[in-house]
Subunit: 414 residues, 4 copies
């Protein structure tokens, strides 16, 4: 599997058509290790079948580009408009999300034919269209679903008592580093995306914000550190927890991160022993916040994270590295900001000052989810390299654990 | 599909080994029209994936015959004991029923290899074993699952907006018959199975019972007749309904049998126009009872049905006919007793006087379900021909609709 | 409390008006030990507030007698038709059952005024009416609710950690008896109510039935005997249980009868030590059936119970005795058939052959509940003395435990 | 009722003991219009019975002051520690919140005796204690529950088809005002509580924040304006809604604010016609946000609201005015900031920079709820006058409607 994706591909340096074809190919490559049966199932309402992801990312180009821009475009199958709409109310009714796993037809082969049909129709359109923003959006949308393919199949495989692997997991090259603290002055700063390059609507507008002085941990919290939290009664002592988090602990019998088994951990490579130095992963916001409270620290606010990340290289343990799991830290200074795990922040996901949704169905992309979610930053080991930015705002409900979410600590200065 | 199963096969006239091989083949033939994706999904907790049925019927022979009887038997995969146990507490823990659809591995190919492994290991055992009762039970068990394969995949396909077919549905040869009433004297009679031939434990012991004089309708209630019930406010007037049935009507928004679409009906052949003369099918006990009350009649008790069926030929519209749907009645006298639809009776499913469960896990086969279920009689168009008997007691909860359940009316005499 | 109800009152020997007044007074006497707060709450959807029972039994006379029969009758409050209808669809819409406990107004005082208004209006009607059947039905209906008042408030008080008493519980006079077995020949017998005296519609028609020879235990199963079942893994070993019963055990964490506390038992007299010789009570049908299977016996069918009870005196530990809890057996022969606990039978609650519901709303009294319920026989310590008959068919779902339900064993002869 | 609470009482100007006695009296006065039955029920898990509020506010003083500070204090009843703990994990286990309505005992009279016992024991403690901060906290805690008593009983009465009144509702003196917009410069400002006077922990620390220029509406959104939103398809067009809000609309069948009936509105005075000029009330955050989007505006952030309120007089339509419902605006300038309705802000409820929870159980007061809630500002017609501050942060989940929540619009400048 890791051979299928060449690390050196930096698709955003390529011409748009080449990037389009590369992203489309990468999605299909991610499905290749999976059987037709694997690609069919939905393990929970929040997750989707692999073949649904293959189809929905195709639906996006068909719906927002081919149909509006090509007067003679022939839809591959009219019923797909209903079957593969995710959540766009303005496009029309759609198949209920919790029942995506019941749709056995079209099968994988037919979905791949749908992909070819749309990819081929897009080629001339890309050459002539001036809708490059929408095409860019479609590519970044598809890259989001590349990560979702891995998150979702990991969850499905984890529920099978066989605990079989998606693909072999290579051993990481790094072995861990001690934690240190880096100070930041804060002040009246700017955050958010600006300029010509692509960003999602929710990353802007760039705006001023006051930030008090703070410190950030140099690396992510490790499994070994998290084990100490558990050993100290982390999941038994309500005083560490937000009230809603404590309810989760009790109602769902949480006593460790998702995918932990006694001394083992289930990864996309199957079940293997846990390593003390690897970052803790698949924790909810509630667990991240409880850990931070136990440690006498707090989670960073998203402005703090973004300021700190400003000078960080956009590189790290990402999808193309083929580990598909966070790796121990390495070296000095601020490490692991990009890749490894999405870092929970203390910031609820709300609109930046001056934010306005775009007109039309595309306006539903991000804005309507600005309630009951927390922001995560930095990408993870399943995020495509040219998809991540320091202004990127990922968001999930505070009880979600199936994404690659981890913990970096912060504290107040003075 | 209908060609795959030769109508002339009457497996219970064959030597045991030939019957074993024929039954095993027939199960696999039923799966052949389905894609790997089709065979993977579970559309509701009561239903199971096709490949689970393929595996579980194999598990039955492995667990109850190969493992206890062959000291050198090598299980195909030790994890299957857990994965493919349906409900036998005495065998050990098992995979939760509602999550059968998440098990993508083993895939269909591996399950078929499992089938071959067990079928081959059974061949010498059949030649030498004196456990013919258990082998017979295993064959009848597998035939029950043949019917379940069709019931369950019909439900799954019905939830896909494409409403695609399992296989083409042939046009029935019959065109309907007027209803007439046949009188029965009753009296102190005997019911239940006796003798050497195979029957499930719950069909015996044969015992005496007093039956008052009654009449039975000569044929099943048709779609046309049921439409008149609907047109008369059948689903809007509580006076026809048992209280629990009326709750179902309201909570589940029932306004027609399962699989009805305006003027159409979804069958294993896809969506097609409904025919007035074909039997109504996929109704719950509550609907059957409400229809009977509306019609001024009642449902037959199971003793009545069995007495009336005593002289009926064990033939009708069954699985091997390849219609996979009930057909209009034909000819005179008591018609459609065998095949077409399972006929709801007024009798709750309880033990006959003197009934004792067999010892061991096999004792869980029928006895532990003797609560909250109603008896149905006579087999349906998805029942294998040599599987049905006049003493056969099928049972389902009163709200279940996904089996081929229909209605025959009865009334008191004098 | 026990002084309020004179044991010698045998109301069915009285003239109708005197009985009417006695029954109405008795209902009010049952509410007197309760505070206004006690009378307001509903502890679960199956239970009702005391003041709702006070009002609903009054609504019954107003709806079925005063309104139809007295042209100049002035309803006490028109809104009560909606508020206090229990389940009569033909009467019109009604307040949702699970929300009876939210109705704080009318309060208890206003409900008592409603009772006086209706009682007074009934007096002249009783003198002149020839609807004595309906009046009798209203009285027996009200007596059913007398028992429900005690069942329901017991449940509510049991959920309060204070476990306070409804009223002091007198010490029973009896101290237990050894178990013996009584044989019955069975044969072609008759069962069901016949004759002029009052019975509910579901007790008839009297009809023939064949009964094989059987034996009945001379007394009820005791707490001491049930403790042995628990000690033997009764609630941990699935082999004793019906499948649906085992689901209850696991989902509801059952490990003892309702109202058991370690060595104690909660009764209407509060929490006190359990006595080995007193009958086990507040078990579900599932527990009764599991106990019987553990004991190597079975539950009696309702025909068996009725035959055996034919010569039994209609006396026992009933409401007027003031114990409000089953008492140990006493003496020889067939004991405890009447009173103490309702005895679970092996018989689902279905219509007798020839049963027809009466016309009109009153037809909803019993018939529409003939699904998913089991028959219990013989009355309990909360049943009014002149309310019980040997043909009386009480019915509850197999998982219900808040009624006074207990166990008598039976076995096959030969 | 309105006479019971004298408007001129400004309790925070009084000596602590006088204020303590006044607050305690006011709580009891709020319960006086209610029957014992009214005071017993719990209409939903989020609400509590009146008598629970009476007891819990007393438990607070007993638990946090009397028990720790008076060595010879005799608890009124040891079981109350369990029964009347709301959510303090550090104090110990507690009665489950959804079952508060089942606790009929202690009754209202015993709860009032409990109140007297604790009030009397507090009097000497107040004279001598230096724990004035905790006493202040207890008083403000009790005032919060005064508002909850009204919110909760309003909900309970609204579910009774009789729709009866808590107490007569006086006619407000004001008749409405046109809307205008007030501009604010923003900049680098400070927000949060500072100084010696009482505030909850979550109102501090005072800290710097950057605010862009904005405008606020001069008054609240009225029922008439909200009716225009409904008439324009407000509840039928998903484009106005947050995704989670639209789910609520569909799953709960929302089509108007809580307590609206066709042209009427249910208030604590019963059902009466709706007035176009009165503020819309009992809307969720989702409805407030949808209205704002429909209107082309947005909700204010809490910093904006606090800056704007800095110079506002701490007066308005509050509990002591006796209207118990928001009144139309009056006069010029920024109106209705204090009282009438709690104003939904666009700000999730999170910790201010530098916030630390106090040590011990009291630390659970506010901090542990900082997830999944939105901030509301300004108090309402059920808030005691000396309880509200401009820094006061109320918080509720975005779907909550039973508090007096309303809408003020904001917009960006430039």
């Amino acid at each position: 599997m890791s051979k299928l994706i060449t690390r050196s591909v930096q698709t955003h340096a390529l011409p748009l058509l080449d990037r389009f074809l590369a992203v489309r190919r990468q999605t299909e490559a991610l499905a290749e290790p999976l059987s037709l049966e694997d690609q069919t199932v939905q393990s929970m309402p929040d997750a989707s079948p692999t073949k649904w992801h293959l189809a929905h990312t195709t639906w996006f180009f068909e719906t927002f580009l081919l149909k509006p821009q090509l007067s003679d475009y022939r839809p591959f199958d009219p019923s797909y408009e209903y079957l593969f709409n995710s959540y766009y109310e303005a496009v029309g009714p759609r198949h209920p999300r919790p029942q995506r796993g019941i749709i056995t037809r079209p099968g994988v082969d037919e979905v791949l034919a749908y992909r070819r049909h749309v990819t081929e129709a897009m080629v001339p359109l890309i050459a002539q269209s001036n809708a490059t923003d929408l095409i860019e959006l479609g590519l970044h949308h598809e890259q989001q679903h590349q990560e979702l393919i891995l998150m979702d199949i990991k969850h499905a495989l984890s529920l099978n008592p066989l605990l079989s692997a998606y693909a072999p997991e290579p051993m990481p090259a790094t072995t861990g580093a001690p934690i240190s603290w880096l100070d930041f002055e804060g002040g009246l700063v700017e955050m958010g995306h600006a300029g010509e390059s692509f960003a999602f609507d929710n990353e802007g507008p760039r705006h001023r914000i006051w930030v008090d002085p703070f410190a950030l941990a140099s690396r992510l919290v490790t499994c070994g550190e998290y084990e100490a939290f558990i050993a100290d009664g982390g999941y038994r002592r309500p005083g560490f927890w937000l009230s809603a988090g404590w309810d989760c602990v009790q109602q769902r019998d949480w006593d460790a991160p998702l995918y932990w088994h006694e001394d083992g951990i289930f990864t996309l490579g199957g079940l293997r022993p846990r390593r003390a130095e690897e970052p803790v992963c698949h924790v909810s916001f509630y667990e991240a916040a409880a850990y931070a409270k136990w440690a006498g620290k707090r989670l960073p606010r998203e402005a703090e994270w973004e300021i700190a990340a400003a000078d960080v290289a956009l590189d790290g343990n990402l999808l193309e590295d083929g580990l598909r799991h966070p790796a121990p830290a390495d070296g000095e200074g601020l490490a692991q900001m990009i890749g490894d795990v999405w870092e929970w922040t203390a910031s609820p996901y709300v609109a930046y000052p001056g934010f306005r949704e775009p007109a039309g169905a595309i306006g539903e992309y991000n804005g309507k989810f600005m309630a009951n979610q927390m922001v995560l930053r930095g990408g993870c080991a399943a995020t495509p390299r040219d998809h991540i930015r320091t202004t990127y705002r990922n968001f999930f409900p505070p009880d979600a654990r199936w994404m690659f979410g981890g913990i970096r600590l912060a504290e107040d200065l003075r």
